[in-house]
Subunit: 436 residues, 2 copies
């Protein structure tokens, strides 16, 4: 299917009609005076709201240890309607007990009060330090300031995207436009996340104890659209988009207590309301949403803590999706594989070793491994049927020493394929994370 | 049970009666001329043999991708009798196809020929680079030299321990002595392993596709004893000892294609042959063997690639062993937890996060976390029932900034406890592994 959307450069979550955003500094980390957003003080509180009620969908961390705002938001998404999101960086509001729950609720109540709406229609997200109570005086001042300054400009969207950043170096936004039923519809998003990144989010309320390990990072993602779509249908589209984007990345293999993706669809584009997954409109909307989520997910990996290379793992020929997933995650999270990538070294022996110890069914005498530059159909095999080819190391290194390359894994056992996006492990990552 | 053995300092695998060992340089990495063991050239080929037939037991990597010597040795252990082991560093003889199998067999055949025994009684191990054929001319010269120079001295044992080293900084040996049935019995061992370390070995022939992830490192371990013990009983003792030592460690979470532990018991101590696991002699022998394996396992972690701190994770209160194991491995292999340890920072939020995303059943409102110095009954709680205590960070850092400390995890859900031994993740690890 050819893309039926166009990309809107330099736009963020305010690109769709009827959305306003704002981001301010209110000193949630208690660094200084906490007054305003002066130079050198990173914004730390974001608001995002719709002029009218919006359909809402959400995906949340499957970590059994989850933060207060996750619990609060997760309980509200099934209502199907939301108006606003309030989010902060600098404090995760995790391991904060009943007080944490009260504070997360208070954030939604104050936002609701100032917007003149019900608190049940406000969702909340936090990211930052675990185990510290929220500095509510600062947070409340921040919410007031953010709502006062919120607007529908791209600049305001950008401020909001900045306010959710933690160890991110750059803010992450994307927006696209498509036509549905003769109406112009926009889908946009922003996200944050650089470390503790291997999300494994599921729909509201599903948090099995022994879930498949598709877990890990604080990532927050916020999708806005002016499409008219039923909440349940939006949830289906979001689950599919997240399954192929945010849940297919790993920076360091750690799943966070706070991972959340929320989507708000306010219907102001005036398209015929999407009520079925069988419709063409659903397919086109889903394609645009999938693009937004994947673009944001890639931005997270590229901006991952200490990351110097972006690797796409393309696995084919697994017997089951569980096998495919286990194999790519073992490779993506292997300390030895990731450090060899840091050095631009293919070291495919470590790749094969990781596949072998994963829970995937593997026959070492059938495995092929290859490398290519992204988008290049010329793939260079280093291993065929479990045996090294005679390709010179230097030829492979011409690929693996690039900033971005693809690793191809052919298990040659079945018909299931998968993609996974990951990065190298560098000294900068260790240096960044060894302090508090 | 009080230890009934005494430690023999500066002894290695030749401490028990009737064992000879040797280690030489034969240039398996093809660095230079390959002649002799001259200064600056690390020994790379070891032999170890008994004057008489010995009972043999073995544990092998559960990695589905496994090296030729693993396949050869694994097929011979069930015979129950062995005389010799030949081992090399510098080349793993993995992903080397049929030629690799022929070369591994040839190593045993030449050793057997020179010793005047059957090749079926010789076992073989390799560690080093994956995917490169063995330089058999050098290897054969090495085997001849090693057997020519082998002796029963502690120095020869030390040469053998050096010859199996790869990225190890120090050789690893230990030996103990006990009395069984009025006879003096010795149990000794040597091992290697510094990176690709999270072994998950099982007894011969058991390599399930979807095994629990108790996998990872090249580690090689060789146990010698002059005890008289039935092969099947020795295998039971070895499995138990490995389960509580080599299979309870992780340096980097990667399981190797070559992990192997072999035990040879030649009976020359003249003790009444141990034929039952019900006997006191079995218990005392097992206690000594367990000590040797645990001492060697700890040496591996302390000498792990780039390691600056040694951490013992003491988990209590899990519902099942699978839960306990999943929780400690998630913590031990978390990049974020390991980097915070590098900085001497408790950062217990990352510990709780990792427990939460493990497959272990966890109730965040019941978890306690604490730290202590090894052997110190004064443990400092940082989290009780999922809530931070008011202990000052500086108090905790006095513990976590030491070279060795214990992390206590209380799940408070059940009665199962476990121990796990691991290390920090440092810039030195990344630097070391980013090159080939």
């Amino acid at each position: 299917m050819e893309p039926l959307f166009k990309i809107l450069p330099n736009e963020g979550v305010t690109a769709p009609a009827g959305f306003r955003a704002g981001g301010v500094f209110c000193d949630i980390k208690r660094l200084g005076t906490g007054k305003g957003s002066s130079k050198g003080q990173k914004r730390d509180l974001a608001v995002l709201y719709s002029a009218v009620d919006a359909s809402v969908a959400g995906m949340f961390t499957t970590n059994q240890v989850c933060a207060a705002p996750v619990k609060v938001s997760e309980s509200r998404v099934p209502g199907g309607v939301a108006r606003a999101v309030v989010a902060n960086s600098g404090n995760a509001n995790a391991c904060t007990g009943e007080q944490g729950i009260r504070d997360a609720r208070r954030m939604t109540e104050l936002t609701a009060e100032l917007l003149g709406i019900e608190a049940e229609k406000v969702l909340v997200c936090s990211t930052g330090r675990i185990g510290v109570q929220m500095p509510m005086e600062n947070v409340e001042r921040g919410i007031r300031m953010a709502l006062e300054t919120a607007s529908d400009t791209a600049e305001s969207a950008h401020f909001a995207a900045e306010a959710i950043m933690t160890s991110d170096n750059v803010s992450k936004e994307t927006a696209v436009e498509l036509v549905l039923g003769g109406k112009t519809v926009r889908v946009a998003g922003m996200c944050k996340g650089a470390g503790m990144i291997q999300p494994g989010m599921s729909a509201t309320g599903k948090r099995p104890a022994a879930t498949p390990r598709q877990l890990h990072a604080t990532m927050l993602g916020f999708i806005t659209t002016d499409a008219a779509i039923e909440p349940k249908i939006l949830q289906i589209a979001l689950e599919d988009a997240v399954a192929n984007s945010f849940n297919r990345i790993s920076v360091d293999g750690d799943m966070s207590t706070n991972d959340t993706v929320l989507a708000l669809a306010n219907g102001l584009a005036g398209n015929p309301r999407i009520t079925s997954i069988e419709s063409d409109d659903f397919k086109h909307f889903s394609q645009a949403l999938a693009h937004v989520c994947l673009a944001l997910a890639h931005k997270m990996v590229r901006d991952g803590e200490g990351v110097s290379r972006f690797i796409t793992i393309r696995l084919e020929g697994a017997e089951t999706f569980a096998d495919a997933d286990a194999a790519v995650r073992a490779v993506a999270n292997s300390a030895l594989v990731k450090t060899s990538w840091c050095g631009g070294d293919p070291n495919w022996g470590r790749v094969l070793d990781a596949i072998g110890y994963s829970s995937a069914h593997v026959d070492e005498n059938k495995v092929d491994l290859a490398y290519s530059l992204p988008g290049d159909s010329n793939i260079v095999y280093v291993l065929k049927a479990g045996q090294p080819t005679d390709i010179p190391l230097a030829t492979v290194q011409k690929i693996t020493q690039q900033k971005e390359f693809d690793l191809h894994i052919f298990l040659n056992l079945g018909k299931v394929s998968t993609l996974f996006y990951t990065a190298d492990l560098t000294e900068e990552y260790v240096d960044f994370n060894k302090g508090e």
